[in-house]
């Protein structure tokens, strides 16, 4: 998660055990937080909600539902990521499936201003959410410190940190262990 941690800009973009009655409410408040920090334009919030309606981002990861909402780069002023864990899950649509929904407990809200950065972040998030123990540690966090520790925990390292290469080869080894292998010790 070398490329993810700088996007958090410290602690203010992490919400632990957040309360929200709906995905829209949660996304609205996270977008507001990004706006207050000067990371996104005023247009980001509405663009985010519209995009989530059109292309939902819920991922039915076993045990812990995840969503990776985002909006187009034109609404972003400085690359950032907000992370939220929820007291009670909220319902998101499942990516690519207009009928399915998923109860989401962990949200990675991306506000990225270039395609290469978006790709690096997404690769690392996908690796993270497929690593069941690390994802569980994040969703179980009781404090921002614990959430940061979960996010910072060493990933199975096989790729170089030179993620500036945006082509597939350098990063294809960064995948975390599949969920079915995730119990017990990591490879």
């Amino acid at each position: 998660v070398d490329d993810l941690l700088p996007l958090l800009h410290g602690r203010e973009l992490i919400s632990v055990r957040a309360h929200a009655d709906s995905a829209e409410e949660l996304l609205g408040s996270l977008a507001e937080r990004l706006r207050a920090g000067g990371y996104v334009r005023a247009s980001y919030r509405e663009a985010l909600l519209a995009r989530e309606r059109e292309h939902p981002t819920g991922l039915p990861v076993p045990g812990v539902g995840v969503a990776i909402p985002h909006a187009d780069a034109e609404h972003v002023q400085q690359a950032a990521m907000a992370v939220a864990t929820l007291q009670r899950p909220v319902t998101f649509g499942v990516m690519g499936d207009v009928e399915a929904t998923v109860d989401v407990s962990v949200v990675f809200l991306l506000a990225l201003d270039d395609a290469a950065g978006h790709l690096r972040a997404l690769r690392q998030i996908v690796g993270f959410v497929q690593d069941a123990p690390r994802l569980r540690r994040l969703s179980d966090a009781d404090s921002v410190e614990q959430a940061l520790a979960a996010l910072s925990a060493a990933a199975p390292r096989s790729a170089t940190a030179s993620a500036s290469t945006s082509t597939g080869e350098a990063m294809s080894n960064l995948e975390a262990a599949p969920a079915s292998h995730a119990e017990g010790t990591r490879p």
């Binding site: 039915p60 076993p62 990516m95 690519g96 499936d97 996908v126």
Partner: protein, 95 residues
């Protein structure tokens, strides 16, 4: 040479993550395929010339090419089944 089209909302990030995984797998299985990416809004005219579409978005009904869901490559659930389906759609190993 089989041709696979990966489709997501933007044609950039999600589809690239999936393309990496499919490319690696097909190469390991000796299946010769060219993998391209696009965004779903490019599909309204339909697609032609592809053997398979892998998508993380709803694909318009104008698309008659077989579609495999890309979601397993993001969640890690059902990856083996998805890869098997991709192989079947591409006619199995044809080395």
């Amino acid at each position: 040479m089989k041709r696979v089209l990966i489709v997501c909302g933007t044609g950039i990030a999600t589809s690239t993550v999936i393309a990496d995984k499919i490319r690696t797998h097909l190469a390991a299985r000796g299946i010769d395929a060219r993998i391209e990416q696009t965004k779903v809004s490019e599909l309204v005219r339909g697609v032609s010339g592809y053997d398979l579409v892998v998508a993380t978005t709803q694909v318009p009904s104008t698309v008659s090419t077989p579609v495999v869901q890309g979601l397993p490559f993001l969640t890690g659930v059902g990856v083996d089944d998805a890869l098997r389906e991709i192989e079947v759609q591409l006619g199995g190993t044809n080395d």
